[in-house]
Symmetry: C2
Subunit: 198 residues, 2 copies
DNA sequence: AATGAAAGCGGACCACGGTCCGTTTCGACC
DNA sequence: GGTCGAAACGGACCGTGGTCCGCTTTCATT
């Protein structure tokens, strides 16, 4: 047989040692975070625990932030799965408005739980296409189902923005709001947006 | 005369050399940013150009981010002044709704202009009490004047959140929106919030 | 199994943010 | 002007993120 055409169906072909090291690094990072917290995690320690050189960390993840983002991805996928195929009202099956409100609550909790990691991932996470895209597309879809008119792409991002980690921290840790108040506030916000302006 | 009572009217009494160095550092930083951009600015270079030791930078500003925040403060104060006492519709004198929309547009532009510095200031800026407080209080006041009912503190932060630098960058540089679209979107959002849910 | 080349690896090395502490400067009080 | 304590200074020093390049491993091909 002739060789595969180079430009089509390019198999990524990850080398086995590379894959092994990747997993080892992720696990080492998770364990070290468990032990000493995100802030005190050094790339050298991760590399040492995984039994590889420091260069490998950067080859695999690009940066410390990239490593954090990779750790987050796992949790994020679980969350996305519960939106796509989990039980209602977060998952499909409930009326759109209930799904939207469930989304807000769930996303808020998710952000609160992963706050340390999200902050450590910094812009690598914030610019993560897949995540941002999924979240705002989901909201956009729900708004559409609710018959909302206007620039749905904008409204979606505007609804997602107040669920960001820095905003939540400001509100809860600095502004003295309880998590329940924030949930209630966001619910109110969502209702106003859906009700529309005309 | 007896000594001032220690607990009342505590004069900060800034030493003259300290004040001079502070100014020299701010100017040096501004000049260097002009020359080589925010990202390539090193604290050592700033110190050298100001003719002081590196330790002084940290003594005065706490961190590199603190230095950035101090630079921002100047611009921020100008902006706040234009809200407090500038010409309408941003300043006082216009109807509340017009002021609110002018606020959104102006704040968005301000964030876009100062984006590099704001990102470089990082959490030092994000946690800046004075700034966040002023902005959300202003919006809250306008909402109140508009007769909006509900958790005004929450709604204010929710209106401010989509004007954050990362959100704007996502929308404009990644999502293909124009600045005009974003302004239009925010205006729509504000109208929906003000219209209310009941 | 042998071969060869591309991908991966490791750890010395570098740059920069941040700390520390002995020395210098300021300015309040006499 | 002299004295003195507090505040500020400077720059050597350290830790950590990130780079670089010569060596090793993998694996497709034969």
């Amino acid at each position: 047989m002739s060789k595969d055409l180079p430009l089509l169906a390019t198999a990524p072909v990850v080398r086995r040692d590379a894959a092994r090291n990747r997993e080892a690094l992720l696990q080492a990072a998770a364990e070290l975070i468990e032990a000493c917290g995100v802030d005190d995690l050094t790339t050298e320690a991760v590399a040492a625990r995984a039994g590889v050189g420091k260069g490998t960390v950067f080859r695999r993840f690009g940066s410390r932030e990239g490593l954090m983002a990779a750790l987050l991805n796992h949790r994020e996928e679980e969350w996305q799965a519960s939106v796509i195929s989990g039980p209602p009202p977060l998952g499909p099956g409930a009326p759109p408005m209930e799904r939207l409100l469930a989304f807000g609550t769930s996303r808020l909790r998710h952000h609160r739980e992963q706050a340390a990691l999200i902050e450590a991932a910094g812009s690598t996470w914030g610019e993560n296409y897949a995540v941002l895209g999924f979240v705002s597309l989901h909201v956009r879809t729900l708004l559409s189902q609710l018959g909302v008119r206007g620039d749905l792409a904008y409204l979606a991002t505007a609804l997602v923005a107040p669920l960001g980690v820095p905003v939540l921290r400001q509100q809860i840790e600095h502004g003295g709001m309880s998590e329940e108040q924030v949930v209630a506030g966001w619910t109110d916000l969502a209702r106003r947006v859906v009700r529309g302006a005309d």
